[in-house]
């Protein structure tokens, strides 16, 4: 009985049920729209109907005269406040409200403040904006054509639509040699189309500026509150201590809530102008049309093999950044971590080129569980392995097995400059194949093929690099990508740990309490995890790129150990012995050789705050703080296998089975890890089969609501089958690696490979771009693959 109790309520790692559930299952979460401040006004944004147009005039008089409207703000008003343009995370600038031109459909043009949200929206059509439409740049591949209209004429010296110079990694000459020596070469043009994280709660802000004190209070659901505060301090010219950002409960983020959006600055400016709190929350169309999208990578890839093993990779990318470069990635990595695209293979050489362009589309580009472009990299390399296997006439799983980096090669330096920490790739793929019953599936497929049924099996194997990152290599806007932790054990022996990671549903209140519990032996229910308030948490860069456990989790482990070390010194005084004569067991220091004699952590805490004498040179109290600088990224990996059936009459793809074996090192809470994987796999099903943001030739967004931007429901998602291998991370204090993004990274190529596998033999299909909608699959079956967008 006691054992069961222990499993249900582990003091430390294990399947602990979530502490945060109690409020959510009763409808008592506090999301942004649930907050109502006295005297609060409501904002709404007028958006551009054109993708590219000159603004000739804006007349706000009718809107201002509308009953209930408090103010209408345009670019001209913002110019007087110095807020018309704001910096992006990538050292570009972005218009807060368009003054000269609109550069994408849905761009912010005016901000109305009114007594309620209905009135604010009523006033939007009363604003008269005169536009002169301009030709739009929609296709990234034509953005640099000599006759392409110039989008960023606001930037001095900008003569074309190049958003950033070509960025390269790897050794071009060595790659040329590998290709020259190869016996098999395959080439593919691959598109990772534009899609959107679309968290169920949209983006918004309540800004409350107090003119008497100059204090700016912000309520917002963002993934990096401390970094946002620094940005606002720069933008608004306020000291950071005069700005307080509170993120209460956040209804999903997935990278969509990393950037600073014009609507946020409008809400702040609105509160300054109106002298009252201003709430602005976007609607679903605004979310899909204007906030941080994902992917939009056009890739030309070549892969080669020699003697049955993959040897080289060459890839040339055009990245579509939209009208403003607001991709969120470490400064020194303008193409993010895309050059991790050597994947899990022991390549002789690889060479990567990435060129980024402006188009008349919404800005963004790094979001949706993608870990700074690793999603695009993994999709490309895993599609290429599939293509190479097809060309060589071998099973794709076998080609991977033959080409993997072997366990004894770790730590492994890739040809593009990464140092993978640990792994046993072949073992993980083997486990996935066993769960899938791979040989049996191939037999079933052969039988079905003989009957004319379309069944496909697809594999993908990924290596991720997460937990950015070491301060010597990685910063965002000059801010080191480190995270703080502050741990206080109170006189009662209960504890509070403050962190700079920001949950959007990942279960931090549980996982981080478990880390302290594991290290100090305090029950997790007695540990309060504090986050989401810049006044009450240490500095750090927040939660995205699967960095919570690798960076903040490590910070919490290290701060717990600092407290434990201090507790040892205090225990030595209490037990009248020397610190080195004490040994630790969970929750207690005891005398070596006399285990009965010891002090529990709560006894030590009580002593630390009492009037009793402290050890020589030690301050009272039992607390510590750290800023954790990770020595390297962590490199989780996994083997995924998809089984699909395609209806030969409707071309509808159904994912019948999906097997995911992840190795993310030590699992702090396996229940939460599994939950993260389930969620990411569902997103992968959506991206592979349904989700896409497209535009017509004039730049009109064609997927601006959930009627057109299709997200998988319970009927499209299979009953995911998970497995695990555990290869501890050698440099993380807990041996843990990040995991949140892995399933989104690994699943789309597995599904697309399965779709091609279903259609290759019967229909000669060798490539299909995502999403594999019935229309696109049908066209491929007819030998008319849809031209890339």
């Amino acid at each position: 009985m006691a054992v069961i109790e222990q499993e249900e309520r582990p003091i430390g790692f294990g399947r602990l049920k979530r502490k945060e559930d109690a409020r959510f299952i009763r409808g008592q979460g506090t999301y942004l729209d649930d907050i109502r401040l006295p005297g609060m006004l409501h904002g709404a944004i007028l958006r551009s109907p054109y993708a590219h147009a000159r603004i000739l005039s804006i007349d706000t008089s009718a809107a201002l005269a509308h009953p209930g409207v408090a103010a209408v703000i345009t670019a001209r008003d913002l110019e007087t406040l110095g807020l018309a343009w704001m910096p992006t995370i990538s050292y570009d600038t972005q218009a807060v409200l368009a003054g000269d031109k609109v550069r994408f459909q849905g761009q912010e043009v005016a901000f109305v403040i009114a007594t309620d949200e209905y009135i604010a929206r009523d006033a939007l059509p009363l604003i008269d904006v005169e536009y002169e439409p301009l030709p739009a740049v929609v296709n990234a591949r034509h953005a640099l054509d000599p006759d392409a209209p110039l989008i960023r004429d606001d930037k001095d010296g900008q003569v074309d639509n190049l958003a950033s110079p070509t960025w390269e990694a790897g050794d071009e000459a060595a790659t040329d040699r590998a290709f020259a020596e190869a016996d098999t070469v395959v080439t593919r043009d691959l598109i990772y189309p534009r899609c959107h994280p679309a968290p169920l709660e949209t983006c918004g802000m309540i800004a409350d500026f107090d003119p008497a004190t100059g204090q700016l209070d912000i309520y917002n659901g963002n993934q990096a509150p401390n970094a946002h505060r620094t940005v606002y301090a720069h933008v608004a010219g306020l000291a950071e201590h005069m700005i307080r950002i509170r993120c209460n409960d956040i209804g999903g983020g997935f990278g969509n809530k990393v950037p600073v959006y014009p609507g946020y600055v409008c809400a702040i400016a609105g509160s300054i102008v109106a002298g009252a709190p201003v709430k602005w929350i976007e609607d679903r169309s605004e979310n899909l049309m204007s906030t941080g999208f994902a992917r939009d990578y056009v890739m030309h890839a070549e892969m080669c093999a020699k003697d049955g093993k993959i040897t080289g990779l060459r890839v040339d990318v055009i990245a579509d950044h939209g009208a403003f470069d607001s991709t969120a990635q470490p400064t020194k990595f303008p193409a993010g971590f895309f050059h991790i695209c050597c994947g899990s293979y022991d390549l002789k050489a690889a060479h990567v080129k990435v060129k980024a362009v402006y188009t008349n589309k919404a800005p963004g580009g790094v979001a949706y569980r993608c870990s700074f472009r690793i999603t695009e990299a993994v999709y490309m390399v895993e599609r290429m392995v599939n293509a190479l296997a097809m060309e060589m006439g071998v099973d794709e799983a076998q080609l991977r097995m033959r080409s993997f980096i072997s366990p004894e090669q770790f730590p492994y330096e890739t040809t593009t400059g990464w140092t993978y920490d640990s792994g046993n790739y072949a073992e993980t793929l083997k486990v996935a194949m066993e769960i899938a019953g791979y040989e049996e599936l191939r037999r079933e497929q052969a039988e079905k093929r003989a009957r004319g049924e379309l069944m496909g099996i697809g594999c993908a194997f990924f290596t991720e690099g997460v937990g950015a990152g070491p301060r010597k290599h990685m910063d965002i806007l000059g801010l080191a990508m480190n995270d703080g932790a502050d741990l206080r054990v109170h006189p009662s022996g209960k504890a509070m740990v403050s962190i700079s990671a920001q949950t959007q549903g990942q279960g931090h209140e549980t996982t981080f309490a478990q880390i302290v519990a594991e290290e100090l032996g305090i029950p997790p229910e007695d540990i309060e995890v504090r986050h989401g308030d810049t006044d009450r948490t240490p500095y750090g860069l927040g939660t995205y790129g699967s960095r919570s456990t690798p960076v903040s989790g490590a910070a919490v482990a290290v701060v717990s150990r600092k407290v434990r070390d201090k507790a040892r010194l205090i225990a030595a005084t209490m037990l009248e012995t020397r610190a080195e004569d004490l040994a630790w067991e969970k929750g207690r220091w005891y005398v070596k050789g006399d285990p009965e004699k010891g002090a529990m952590i709560e006894e030590i805490a009580a002593y630390a705050y009492s009037g009793d004498p402290m050890p020589e040179g030690l301050e009272g109290g039992l607390d510590a703080q750290v800023i954790y600088d990770p020595p390297n990224l962590t490199y989780p990996y996994g083997a995924y296998i998809a089984v699909v059936d395609i209806d030969p009459d409707t071309a509808q793809v159904r994912v019948r089975r999906f097997i995911a074996v992840d190795d993310c090192g030590v699992r702090i809470n396996p229940m939460i890890v599994d939950g993260q994987i389930h969620g990411g796999l569902a997103e992968g099903v959506g991206i592979a089969l349904m989700e896409v943001i497209t535009f017509d030739e004039e730049g009109n967004c064609l997927n601006s609501s959930f009627m057109d931007y299709l997200i998988p429901t319970a009927l499209e998602c299979p009953d995911f089958e998970l497995g695990a291998t555990v290869t501890p991370c050698p440099h993380h204090p807990l041996g843990a690696k990040g995991v949140g993004e892995s399933p989104n990274v690994g699943s789309p190529p597995a599904i697309v490979n399965a779709v091609i596998d279903a259609l290759h033999e019967s229909h000669g299909v060798t490539h299909i771009d995502m999403p594999c909608t019935p229309a696109r699959v049908w066209a491929a079956m007819q030998g008319r693959p849809e031209p890339p967008q």
């Binding site: 049920k17 979460g29 999301y31 968290p199 409960d249 549903g505 569902a682 319970a714 009953d719």
Partner: protein, 162 residues
């Protein structure tokens, strides 16, 4: 115009614009922000409440259409500090991450079990297929509803899940 409806057993009467959405009417009632809004187009189901025992989307229902009807929201599931089996199931099976879709999912699950106490997994998936969860991949939601079906008499004070 004046509208009177019952929310969680309590009559609520208010003078509203005819265009006011039910989701806003509910959320404007003190203490009832558990019903969420997510999409405008009846696709996501964050706004699902029960009208006369059946799930409806309150973001595309006008408050005035509910005159005389009985509305049940997530806040009605807990009675005297004790949780409903569907609430316990979601906690037991880790069927929620960010919690934003959870109230709607709970209400649909409650309605399903009221009508069909022993649904198959396919029936559960079909019942929640008008709703989007962006976090869980649905697997654990299905397991949670199954748990609730298997523990229909289960109830537990809220303190035990805190």
């Amino acid at each position: 115009m004046q509208v009177t409806l019952t929310i969680n057993g309590r009559a609520v009467s208010r003078d509203v614009e005819p265009r006011q959405l039910l989701v806003h009417f509910i959320r404007d009632t003190p203490g009832l922000t558990g019903t969420h809004w997510g999409c405008d187009t009846s696709n996501c189901g964050a706004c699902v409440v029960l009208m006369d025992g059946r799930p409806i989307k309150s973001c595309t229902t006008l408050a005035v259409m509910c005159e005389g009807h009985e509305i049940r929201t997530v806040e009605s599931l807990e009675v005297d500090g004790r949780l409903d089996p569907v609430q316990l199931g979601f906690h037991e099976m880790h069927a929620l991450h960010c919690g934003f879709c959870t109230p709607g999912m709970l209400m649909t699950s409650r309605a399903l079990l009221d009508e069909n106490p022993h649904p198959s997994d396919e029936e559960i998936r079909t019942a929640i297929s008008g709703q989007i969860c962006r976090c869980t991949g649905y697997k654990n939601i299905v397991a949670a509803v199954r748990w609730a079906a298997e523990h229909q008499a289960a109830t537990r004070p809220i303190e035990e899940v805190q």
